[in-house]
């Protein structure tokens, strides 16, 4: 059994413990302990019934934890050793776990950490490595999140919106570290979409798949960012694109449009173009207009200005840009690009250099620095 298959069992094992009467926070610790033991012993000694093994070991760990906790409190054993018969709940437990981990009282980083551990079945160490923080800090973040959930009451969990927001954050974290967070986000969103009756969950899954399909072409071998126009489209994963498009089409047919479906539609139009010059920018602008109706944010307006520049020419793009809040990240980079296309190379070179200085990440800074250098070289050669 591979690591991913093992982790897929985690939410169900946790649900079994909670159904037997264990409190969420302790049960979650117990499942984590069983998981760590499984990762250690299964390679040499695989169990015949992996899920049964996990339930048994996690339940014993729970009893030990509950006993030592209660011994510490009043030196009396209060917990029944025999598990009460596991009732089969009609409620969907895994979905409930998702909602609990995306509790509205949690900060985004806490909700992300708790979701990756309790639903994703990652170890604290793996989550800490993925987010580049010490393991002790991540352990505290997770137990604090569980205390928050317990204090707020498990009866008022988040909903499918808050869960989608958390999974979007996980996906967007990128590909750094040992654990592939993008793949993990796709796995969890797939699970969510199969259980939540919401076309936006399908839209989010489609969006992730369509971006994931371009992964290999997004960076050059030396790690530099490759813009969409220059990506080697033969390296796009056509099977994943086809899957994303099919999921999106089924979601759109249900006629309950939302921001993830709009974003996925834009990604699908990019994926559909064999060459950059074949891109259907007019339709992309129309989807940005739809997106603005459901989620009017400066980032959406900025990206719309880029699309308008492609569809109707640089002057139209600059006019669209004039209505966008200048404080939004990458505003200067977009301005530089549009001015270059408009033929104003000197202004473009200056703006590219400004964009490099205000870039929010290293790949973007390096990319904008190269752009500035390229345009300055053009200017020297022509002057």
């Amino acid at each position: 059994m591979d690591d991913v298959a093992l982790r897929a069992l985690v939410p169900h094992v946790l649900s079994v413990l909670v159904r037997r009467g264990a409190d969420f926070a302790t049960a979650e610790d117990a499942v984590q302990e069983a998981l760590i033991r499984a990762l250690r012993t299964w390679p040499d000694d695989p169990p015949r019934d992996p899920e049964g093994w996990l339930v048994t070991v996690a339940w014993r760990a729970f009893l030990d934890m509950a006993r030592s906790e209660s011994a510490r409190r009043d030196r009396e054993l209060r917990v029944e050793v025999d598990p009460p018969p596991g009732e089969v709940s009609a409620l969907d437990d895994t979905l409930h776990l998702y909602f609990l981990c995306a509790h509205p009282d949690l900060t985004p980083s806490s909700a992300v950490a708790l979701t990756l551990r309790a639903v994703g079945g990652l170890t604290t160490r793996q989550i800490a490595e993925a987010y580049l923080v010490p393991e002790a800090t991540m352990a505290q973040r997770i137990s604090r999140a569980k205390r928050t959930v317990a204090a707020a009451g498990v009866e008022r969990p988040g909903d499918v919106r808050t869960v989608m927001r958390v999974l979007y954050l996980v996906f967007n974290e990128g590909y750094s570290g040992d654990v592939d967070l993008a793949a993990e986000a796709i796995r969890l969103t797939r699970q969510l979409a199969s259980q939540a009756d919401d076309p936006e969950a399908d839209g989010l899954l489609a969006l992730m798949l369509l971006h994931h399909a371009r992964r290999a072409s997004r960076t050059s071998p030396d790690g530099a960012l490759v813009p969409l126009a220059e990506q080697d489209r033969s390296r796009w994963d056509t099977a994943t694109i086809a899957e994303g498009v099919a999921i999106l089409q089924a979601a759109l047919a249900r006629d309950r449009l939302g921001e993830y479906q709009c974003q996925a539609a834009i990604a699908a139009l990019h994926a559909d173009a064999p060459r950059f010059d074949d891109t259907d920018w007019v339709q992309i602008v129309e989807w940005y207009d739809e997106l603005l109706r459901v989620a009017d944010t400066p980032v959406v307006r900025l990206n719309r200005a880029v699309a308008v520049g492609e569809a109707d020419g640089a002057p139209a793009g600059l006019a669209a840009l004039a209505t966008v809040d200048e404080g939004v990240p990458r505003h200067t980079a977009v301005a530089a690009h549009l001015h270059e296309r408009n033929g104003d190379l000197e202004l473009a070179a200056r703006l590219y250099a400004d964009a490099a200085r205000s870039a929010p990440n290293l790949a973007e800074r390096d990319h904008q620095t190269r752009q500035a250098a390229r345009v300055n070289q053009l200017l020297r050669e022509s002057g």
């Binding site: 580049l132 923080v133 002790a136 974290e173 990128g174 870039a359």
Partner: protein, 134 residues
Amino acid sequence: MAKYLLLKHYQGAPEPVNCIPMSEWTPQEVSDHIRFMQDFGARLEETGELVDAQGLAPEGRWVTAGADGQPITDGPFAETKDLIAGWMIVDVDSEERAYQLAAELSRAPGAGGEPIHEWLEVRAFMEAPPTIEG
């Protein structure tokens, strides 16, 4: 979810309210200050926000490569304008939270047990580019 560096300066920061140098405090005031810093770090670990906390030796040297590629050192220079004392790295949900933590750190007790109101420099880390670019 972004990392920030909270930089503490020996020299080069604007002057704090309580600016009596540490060497002129009472030993108890020095101990109280150090205890505050330790407690602050421990509390940040508890909130799941601490990434790192380090102090630097005040004296540094400038190093360059000579013609043969071997290091050539210069300094230390007493007149250096900007001198970093140490840092904390935090992983927080917002820029506001990073400022809030810097403000708490700024109120570390100094002479007379009064808050120093030291100026801290807060700098955002460059992180990985987002997967969904637009």
